[in-house]
Amino acid sequence: MGSDMSKAAQSELVVSDLHVQVGGQMVLNGVDLRVASGEVHAVMGPNGSGKSTLAYAIMGRPGYEVTAGSITLNDVDLVELSPWERAHAGLFSTQQYPTEVPGVGLENMLEEAVAAIGGDRSAVEAQVAAEAELVDFDPDLLYRSLNVDLSGGEMKRSEAVQLGVLRPRIAILDELDSGLDVDALAAVSHRIEQATHEDNLGVLAITHFSRLLTVLHADVVHILIDGAIAETGGPELAAQLEETGYDPWIDTRAESPVEIHLGGDPWP
């Protein structure tokens, strides 16, 4: 789907002052991020800090309500777009636990996705085969229903195949390393890094542990605490985190004054 021209194209995902509510609860309280083509950003945070909410809100999962702020990709406002329109704008996301879709095959889905943007559906089969080889995804598994009866590693290899065929501008990887063996993590991370170099893919990798960053090398690390970025730095931030855990940042937050909104729109 990508062309030589798009390979060079610069894209930027910009998340500004993002406030997101899930099931009536505020989960994100003003997140700011910019991810440009070719960059790898890691968002790290403890459980409940809003990491998965950030991933879902950017992709537009129903039930994740943006109450304030904006999400743009190349100046296109994504907030009002449906998930498939966001995908067409160049966004891709992997899920921590990819959803099983019984009776729907990988190729089947990718053919429809490719056809929807005017691509050549007949080219998908060969692309899938080539991508499967790159991440060592068992060709027999290509004919199974999406994510049905696949191990954690097989699911992530399948998602790497999808990324390889769809060639998005920006990929959001939610807990890529969860439920994954070392070999699969290495294969999938390698494919993603390759895409950042060859296809200028920008990556937002969401993770609890720094283990992921030993195989997927982040240029920028953000610490997410209580639904907001507490600190942004280079790879050394992940190293520091490895030593201290999240406590230093959590303490900082606890000392800051707690805002309480009583009724009405808290973001006039």
Binding site: S82, W84, F92, A113
Partner: protein
């Protein structure tokens, strides 16, 4: 008392063997003495049976032959408005001893009663030429035996009856195709399937009747020792289309797979009543019914697994899943177990719900537009059933017809998914 043109005199006037004439009159007398079913009865609950006015219909003469395409087959038979209008039995199949013909003078033993309700009784009384498919012991029939039914008489009532008699250790597949012109008609088929010891029978009914046709059918099967029946249906057409399945696992080690799909749209009501009757030890039945209801259509599934006291070692499963595709559509699912032996494995599962919001999000997040994603999910939902259907040659046509129904999905709100 039902006062209609469906009288004992009318039944007695139908030509045929003496034994059959006597049975017809006896059945018609029972019909005349019976009351119309009512939604007060459990087996008719949720149905529009109160709207049925039998006086609107009468036995019709034969009309045209079905234009519905048939897959490659061994034997072919046609009915038109319930009357047999042709059997094509190639010599090489006949030479195997396979019989495909109307019941004759020597078939009185086939008079055994399978009259599960008023409409099966009406079939016994008014079926003009009950069709027998008999496969001798040890014979494997290559290619399906196809029976095509066509209705084109407005106001016509048709009572096709098919008896499949598979001898010991034989194997055969039977495909029934129901179609109609755009007429208002009533069809009440009865299918008896007898699977003798160690025989293997695959049966598929594709019901694609017009939107003004009422279909009230009954399928009764008896599965012998170590025998295997796979009985399937795709219910796509009809205004009110009901099938009752009585599956008797009568011989030790018998297996019955009951695999069906249905797709309602417009104002259709599709109705299924299933009975898995385990009467012998070590018997297995697996039921999978999957349906979708769109527009203002309705579906009813009620099922009962019965394990009789002698049927130790029974494995019985019953699964009914429904996708509700529009706000105005409605699906009812009522599974039941009645177990009289402790050494059994039984389970039942049922579900009615919209298209899964998480599945929809997954496909959409890959760039598949909502409409296409819904179609993929619904098609995928039915693939589990289609993959298990017998008569593989019939699959392209079934898929095509199902796809055309899925292509007309109404747009609707779906489950919005939940946060985490």
């Amino acid at each position: 008392m039902i006062e209609t043109q469906f009288t004992p005199d009318a039944a007695g006037a139908i030509p045929g063997p003496d034994w059959l004439a006597r049975r017809r009159v006896a059945a018609a007398e029972q019909v005349a003495a019976a009351a119309m079913p009512s939604v007060e009865e459990e087996v008719w609950r949720y149905t529009p049976i109160g709207q049925l006015d039998l006086s609107r219909y009468q036995l019709a003469d034969g009309g045209g032959v079905s234009p519905v395409a048939v897959p490659e087959h061994s034997v072919m038979a046609d009915t038109s408005n319930g009357r047999l209008c042709g059997v094509e039995l190639p010599a090489e199949v006949a030479d195997q001893g396979v019989e495909v013909r109307p019941l004759g003078d020597d078939d009185a033993e086939l008079a055994a009663s399978v009259d599960v309700d008023l409409f099966a009784l009406m079939n016994a009384a008014f079926s003009v030429e009950p069709l027998l498919v008999r496969v001798p012991s040890g014979v494997n029939v290559e290619g399906p035996i196809v029976v095509r039914h066509w209705l084109d008489a407005d106001g016509g009532a048709a009572f096709p009856r098919l008896i499949v008699d598979a001898g010991a250790d034989s194997s055969v597949e039977v495909l029934e195709l129901y179609g109609s012109a755009d007429v208002s008609a009533f069809v009440s088929p009865v299918i008896e399937i007898r699977v003798a010891a160690a025989a293997r029978v695959g049966y598929l009914a594709v019901q694609d009747l017009g939107p003004k046709v009422w279909h009230i059918g009954s399928q009764v099967s008896h599965i012998g020792a170590q025998a295997h029946l796979r009985a399937s249906s795709a219910a796509l057409g009809g205004e009110y289309a009901r099938t009752r399945l009585d599956t008797h696992l009568s011989g030790r080690g018998a297996t019955g797979d009951l695999i069906s799909l249905y797709f309602g749209d417009g104002e259709q009501t599709l109705d299924f009543r299933t009975f898995q009757d385990h009467a012998a030890p070590d018997t297995t039945s697996t039921l999978l019914f999957k349906g979708a209801v769109d527009d203002a259509s309705r579906s009813v599934y009620t099922g009962l697994i019965r394990v009789r006291p002698d049927a130790r070692g029974t494995n019985a499963y019953q699964t009914n899943r429904n996708i509700k595709l529009s706000e105005d559509a409605w699906a009812e699912s009522v599974p039941n177990l009645e177990i009289e032996n402790n050494e059994v494995h039984c389970s039942h599962a049922s579900a009615v719900g919209p298209i899964d919001g998480d599945q929809l999000f997954y496909l959409e997040s890959r760039g598949v537009p909502t409409d296409t994603a819904e179609r993929l999910i619904v098609t995928g939902f039915f693939n589990e059933v289609l993959d298990q259907f017998p008569v593989p040659g019939a699959m392209p046509a079934v898929r095509e017809r199902l796809d055309s129904k899925i292509a007309g999905l109404s747009h609707h709100g779906v489950d919005g998914g939940s946060g985490s």
